[in-house]
Structure formats: structure tokens, C-alpha cells
């Protein structure tokens, strides 16, 4: 498996579109899928809860 295999066709000349680059990168997707809900749901939500003043 030393020599780089060229997948069929003229893919070399075509630039891979940005969207496809994102879609083809599982770890980037994992990053998006964890950061979005962590920031907007968990962190934001938890911040609102901890800033509720304590009754006395």
C-alpha cells in the first residue's frame, strides 16, 4: 500500500468543495456536534441557574 492510489476519474483537478470537506471529516463533525450543545444548552443553561440569587 505504498504508492498513493488515485481514486477513479479526474478528481485531482477538481477542488473539493468546502462543504464536502466538512462532511468528509468525522472529527470536525464530532467537534461541532459536541461544542454547539455544550455552549448553547449546557453552559448557557448552567450559568443562568448558578446566577439565581440565593434566598435568605
Amino acid at each position: 500500500m505504498a504508492e498513493p492510489v488515485q481514486p477513479s476519474g479526474n478528481q485531482k483537478e477538481e477542488r473539493v468543495p468546502v462543504l464536502q470537506q466538512i462532511l468528509d471529516n468525522p472529527f470536525l463533525l464530532l467537534f461541532i456536534g459536541v461544542v454547539m450543545p455544550t455552549v448553547f444548552y449546557i453552559l448557557w443553561g448552567v450559568m443562568e441557574i448558578v446566577t439565581i440569587p440565593i434566598a435568605n
Binding site: 462532511l23 468525522p26 463533525l29 464530532l30 461541532i32 456536534g33 454547539m36 449546557i42 443562568e48 441557574i49
Partner: protein, 563 residues
């Protein structure tokens, strides 16, 4: 190290031996738990049926806790792990990364499920699957859940590892197939889900053994639903992938547009989990901005993605059928579909049930104002049985009918039953859910043993309509359980008694041929929409949705007279 592969002559699928064993094991374990959960479901629904009122109150809450956990977590997630291994190793023709870790994952999940199961059986943990603090369960109730989650997390990493192996060893050309991409979406959501679960359940475990003095109930609810809701989104991603897979298996259908479908999955990855906030809509303490951002803007993008899938799957089937010559009128392609094949009928009922019953009610409940009409009523299980039972469970059943001959090399046992099963199960579940919704709109509470409030200090008298709805819930719940039992009997029967299929495929160490690039989507020439029938169905869907949505605003205005 030489790896063993076999090619199934029926389907052309390539199985890596350890992956094949693990897929079978996880799927069979799932079905066993489905059977147990179904029996508990029968007991639950027979108790909510006012004329029967089967269990004592204590047993009812205990059994309901077991039903929720065994169905929602154990059955579904074991099956999903099987799907992850199938979509990575089998569909990419790759060896499974680290089968040993996959075995460990299995052991942890089984052990965890057993430990939590024992805790529920012992009776001190009837806290419902949500286990809200400060209601205490036994420590091992939480411990089992944590072990189960760790196991599932390992399964997710085995899936990701297999994607890496397949890429490095060049087992496929181009991008991963769409179905694998959908499984990747499920896996990503699962990782967030399990992380949220760990953040809240580990402290709760420590609280239950006395190391932590207190857990804030609101904090618990917010983070718990990061897990509880997101885990439903694992299911949605997984069953949508199954729809695509079945469309390809049964019709040779190709996605109408790979890019559109993948972008829809990307919307799931980015936005679906934020909708967890719809469970917190009536909680004080978190602000309106947080609620509205997460349940409106974000959730609608995710709903849009579901509508894209709901449109492109039948659209792809329609295109494939029209290519085969079923071109008469709007709907010949649908009329001439193989309605007697449970792989297809199960998938199609899943799609329609999920969209019309689960999807529409989900958007209604996710709207802050109209959520108030039905919050915590039996409308809620009336919404999620169509999503997780009609949608996810039935899609998984349909896939199982395809996998039994392929994986176990046996014909289906009682094929006549298999043919009817999706209809019985789909019909029973759909009607049970509709009547739950009806009763919920009239105010009948969920998780409630006695709607007559006998002996309660404040009494309330429901009208006859509410009682009738709960009676019909009971009757169709029994039909649904019969449909579920037919599935279990067919599957278990096939494994034990099914006729062996003559299949000469042997395991060899030859590396399977590289998975070629899929054929490009058909180019559409000529005028008009390529899938007019699907377009009409989509319009019907939208019209139903709009009418139902405004009906609920009307109900709201009659709850609080504003006119």
C-alpha cells in the same frame, strides 16, 4: 494478522467475522430486552385502562420505571450498537477496529443493564426513567446506568476507530456512503448524550452513597435532559439511516441528492441536541432567551432536516419505481410497492407514523405557549410512542427482517406473521398514541396510577370522554403488544427453527474488493418535478401540520379566555 471475511451471496454484503458475531450478539440481546420491556408495557397499559386497573399503585410505578428504562435505553441502544458496527465494518468492507474493546463494551452494557434491572426489581428505585432528584434511588440503580453508558461510549469509539481503519486501509472510494454518514451522525450525538449523562449521573451516584450532600433539582433537570432528549436524537438519526438503507435494499433507490441529505444530517449534528430545552419549558430559573433560542430557532432547523429526510426517502423510492415503469398517475409507484414485504412495509409505516404523529406533535409541544396545555399529561407519551416506537422501533424491526437471513442464514419463521406484523404493531401503536393524545388534551396526567383520584384530599372528576379515551388507549395498547410479540416470536423462531439457507460462503483471509464509488444520482431531464407523488404527500403533511398547529392555539385561547 490475517482477518477473516465472508461475502453473503444473497446481499453481496461483506462481513468481517468478529464484527458479524458482535452485530448478531448486540441485536439478539436487544430483542430479548424488547420482549421484557413489552411485557412491562402490557402491565402499564392494562393499569391505565380504567376498567382493568391491573396493578397496585406501588407495582405500577415500579413497572413503569422498568418499562421506560428497558425500552428507551436498553433495547434501543443495544440495537444501535449493532447498527454502528454494521454501518462501519460491513458497509465499508473494513475490519472492525479493536473487537476486544467491542466485547468489553458489550459486557459493560449487559452488566450495567442487569445491575439497574436488579435495583428496579428490588423495589427501592421506582423513580421513573428520569430519576429526578431529590427522589432517591438505590446507589446501584445509578451505577448500572453509568456502566451501561460507558459501554455504549466504547462502542461509539469502536465505530469511529473503524472509520479511521477503513480510510487508512482504503477499503472504499470517495466519501463514506450516506447510510454510514447517518450512523456517524448518531454516533456523534451519542457521544454528547453520554457526556451529559456522565456529568449528572456520576454526582447523583455520589449523592446516593452520601459523598455529596445535595444536588440542585433544576441543575439536574437541565443536564439530565441534555442526555434524555439527545438520546432520542440518536434514535432519529439511526432510524433515518435505516430508512435510507431499506430504500436502497428493497428498491435499489439512490438518494435524490447526496448533498442535500448529508447537509440535513449536518443540521442534526449542529442543532438537534439544543432542542433538549423543550423539556424545561415550564421550569422557572432559566430565562426566556435560553428557552426560545434553543427550542425555536435551533429546533426548527433540526425539524427542517427531518422534513428533508421525510421527503427525500419516499422521493428516492418514487424515482426508483418510476424508472422500473410504474409511471401511471401520481401514486402507481406507491400502490405497486411490495406491501407484503415487512422490510418495506415496516419502514414505510415508520416513516409516515414518525412524521405525521410524532413530528407534528413534537413541534406543537416544543412551542412554549401551547406546551402549557399538555405539559406532563399523557399527551407526552402519546407523542413519543410515535417517535420512538413507530419511528425507531418499527424501523429497527424492519431492518431485522432483512438481517435475519443475511446474518443467521435462516429463512424467516412464520413468514405470514412477519408479513402482518408491521401492520398490527403500527396500527395498535398509532391508535394507542392518538387516544393518549386525546386524553392528554383533556388533562389526564402521565405517570399517574389513578385518574379517579380516589381518597385524594382534593378530588377531581374527569368526564366520560377522558375515561373512554383511556379505555381505548388500553385496548389498542394490547393490540400493539400483540404486534410486538409477533415480532419477537418470528425473530426468535427464525433463529431456532428457521429453515437453514444453503449458503456456501466461507470465511477467507482474502481482502474484500474495494467498495466502489456509488453510481451518481440519476440526471433528471425534462420538465416537472421528478417525484410528483412525494410532492403531493409533502403538501398533505404541511396542511395537516398547519391545521393542527392552529387548532392548538385555539385550545389555548379557550383555556385562558382572551377573546
Amino acid at each position: 494478522m490475517s482477518e477473516l471475511f465472508r461475502t453473503c451471496p444473497r446481499s453481496g454484503l461483506v462481513f468481517h467475522k468478529p464484527a458479524e458475531t458482535l452485530i448478531k450478539l448486540n441485536a439478539v440481546t436487544a430483542v430479548v430486552f424488547l420482549a421484557v420491556g413489552g411485557i412491562l408495557g402490557l402491565l402499564v397499559v392494562m393499569t391505565r385502562w380504567p376498567a382493568v386497573h391491573l396493578l397496585s399503585s406501588e407495582l405500577f410505578y415500579q413497572v413503569l420505571t422498568g418499562h421506560g428504562i428497558i425500552m428507551l435505553l436498553v433495547w434501543i441502544i443495544f440495537f444501535e450498537i449493532a447498527i454502528l458496527y454494521f454501518c462501519s465494518s460491513t458497509l465499508l468492507r473494513s475490519r472492525l477496529a479493536t473487537p476486544r474493546w467491542a466485547w468489553l463494551a458489550y459486557a459493560l452494557m449487559l452488566g450495567g443493564a442487569a445491575i439497574t434491572g436488579v435495583a428496579i426489581l428490588q423495589g427501592g428505585s421506582s423513580v421513573m426513567m428520569t430519576s429526578y432528584v431529590p427522589m432517591p434511588a438505590a446507589p446501584h440503580f445509578y451505577l448500572g446506568l453509568i456502566l451501561f453508558a460507558v459501554g455504549a461510549l466504547i462502542g461509539c469509539f469502536v465505530f469511529l476507530g473503524t472509520l479511521v481503519v477503513a480510510k487508512n486501509e482504503r477499503t472504499y472510494e470517495g466519501s463514506i456512503p450516506l447510510v454510514t454518514f447517518g450512523a456517524l451522525t448518531a454516533c456523534i450525538i451519542a457521544i454528547f448524550t453520554i457526556a451529559s449523562g456522565a456529568i449528572i449521573l456520576i454526582p447523583t451516584f455520589l449523592w446516593s452513597v452520601g459523598y455529596i450532600s445535595e444536588i440542585d433539582p433544576l441543575m439536574y433537570r437541565v443536564i439530565w435532559w441534555g442526555m434524555g432528549h439527545s438520546s432520542q436524537q440518536i434514535n432519529v438519526s439511526a432510524h433515518v439511516s435505516v430508512w435510507y438503507a431499506i430504500a436502497a435494499i428493497v428498491f435499489g433507490a439512490r438518494p435524490m441528492s447526496e448533498r442535500v441529505s448529508r447537509t440535513a444530517f449536518l443540521l442534526y449534528i449542529a442543532f438537534l441536541q439544543l432542542a433538549s430545552a423543550h423539556h424545561i419549558l415550564v421550569d422557572p430559573g432559566v430565562g426566556t432567551e435560553w428557552k426560545i433560542f434553543n427550542t425555536s430557532y435551533a429546533m426548527y432547523l433540526a425539524v427542517l432536516a427531518s422534513m428533508v429526510h421525510g421527503l427525500t426517502v419516499p422521493g428516492a423510492i418514487e424515482v426508483a419505481q418510476r424508472e422500473k415503469g410504474y409511471t401511471n398517475g401520481m401514486f402507481e409507484w406507491l400502490r405497486k410497492a411490495p406491501w407484503g414485504n415487512p422490510v418495506f412495509s415496516g419502514m414505510f409505516i415508520s416513516l409516515v407514523g414518525f412524521g405525521f404523529l410524532g413530528g407534528i406533535t413534537g413541534v406543537v409541544m416544543g412551542t412554549e405557549q401551547i406546551n402549557l396545555i399538555i405539559h406532563n399529561t399523557i399527551y407526552v407519551p402519546g407523542h413519543f410512542h410515535p417517535t420512538v416506537v413507530l419511528g425507531t422501533t418499527l424501523a429497527f424491526m424492519a431492518l431485522t427482517y432483512f438481517l435475519v437471513p443475511v446474518l443467521f442464514r435462516r429463512e424467516l419463521f412464520l413468514p405470514g406473521w412477519a408479513k402482518w406484523q408491521p401492520y398490527v404493531f403500527g396500527f395498535g401503536t398509532a391508535l394507542m398514541s392518538l387516544f393518549m393524545m386525546g386524553a392528554g388534551t383533556l388533562g389526564v396526567a402521565r405517570r399517574h396510577w389513578d385518574m379517579a383520584f380516589s381518597g385524594a384530599p382534593f378530588s377531581f372528576e374527569f368526564g366520560g370522554a377522558a375515561y373512554m379515551m383511556m379505555g381505548l388507549t388500553g385496548i389498542f395498547g394490547v393490540v400493539s403488544v400483540i404486534g410486538g410479540a409477533m415480532f419477537v416470536i418470528v425473530v426468535v423462531g427464525s433463529l431456532v427453527l428457521g429453515k437453514k439457507i444453503e449458503d456456501k460462503s466461507e470465511y477467507t483471509t482474502t481482502r474484500p474488493a474495494i467498495l466502489p464509488l456509488g453510481p451518481a444520482a440519476p440526471a433528471h431531464h425534462g420538465k416537472g418535478f421528478v417525484a410528483p407523488g412525494t410532492f403531493v404527500l409533502a403538501l398533505v403533511f404541511l396542511a395537516t401540520f398547519v391545521v393542527y398547529y392552529f387548532l392548538n392555539w385555539m385550545y389555548l385561547s379557550s383555556v385562558w379566555p382572551m377573546n
